[in-house]
Symmetry: C2
Subunit: 169 residues, 2 copies
């Protein structure tokens, strides 16, 4: 069974963290929440989803994890101003380990400058940002390009989670 | 006295609409809120700032206004998925009339593809998006480049408002 880091902070899209995390746990994997401060409680956009941060991003290494989950909402916008969060995401993508990214999650990949030449999808509002980062934007429910697995938003969660579990098997 | 359109929807950064709008009104200008639906009430991030939308963006023309204000927060992220909002912003920038943009406001300019070769500032989280759009990111409290006037966020509001009022004189 594998250990998956989920990088998240306040205003995450609730279902985009909760549903994949529950599916991972139910299939025997371990989910470690990575955020700005260890022990901090962060909240989703609906204010109904408190999540405790297990590890501070400046204290973790890619070596400790088998895959990375980047939920969307406004959490990626908040995370991308922290150099340590951007570096962690960049290291994950370049490591070749699976990176599961949904909705606004690609914003972190843009700041990490790892999208040049990649095929990816994401939320409608950031399509031009994705294209300007040198990636090919693909309007499909799940796009797999090497270790990068992406979906557009909550409506794509079933396909996103199915693909994630298949890849981790 | 001039008529300034303020394009705004839910989750705007409260002070970035309220403070410039009040300053404009107090100096004799008219502020017209432009949003998705006429008559809709939208709310700022703090839930303390209800704003009634005067005009739907699909019913307005640049000819009706002398300048455009784009407050930040998450309002620009929500607006940039509406083609009519993007077209209105694009038409304003290319008209040569003043466009005052702050914080996440440049996200609308990115989707409108009007930043190539321009000098602009904006919120820290979107620096890479601004650069990828072909603009020069300038880390100053106010950047004036032709008709494009930009600031980084709430802390820059005094300088942003001073510059706005000077330009409209």
């Amino acid at each position: 069974m594998l250990t998956v880091a989920a990088i998240v902070t306040n205003l995450f899209e609730d279902s985009e963290f909760i549903d994949p995390a529950e599916a991972l746990k139910k299939t025997g994997h371990t989910v470690v929440t990575v955020g700005i401060r260890e022990g901090e409680v962060v909240w989703g956009k609906t204010d109904n989803s408190p999540v405790k941060i297990d590890r501070a991003v400046d204290s973790v290494s890619v070596d400790e994890f088998d895959a990375l989950l980047i939920p969307g909402g406004y959490s990626p916008d908040k995370l991308r101003v922290f150099d340590e969060a951007v570096e962690f995401v960049r290291a994950f993508v370049t490591s070749g380990k699976p990176v599961f990214v949904i909705c606004h999650g690609p914003q972190l990949l843009i700041t990490a400058r790892v999208l040049e030449g990649r095929r990816i999808t994401g939320y409608a509002s950031i399509v031009q940002d994705i294209k300007n980062a040198g990636a090919e934007y693909v309007d499909e429910e799940v796009v797999v390009d090497g270790n990068l697995v992406s979906s557009r938003g909550p409506a794509d969660l079933p396909a996103f989670i199915r693909t994630m579990l298949e890849i981790l098997e």
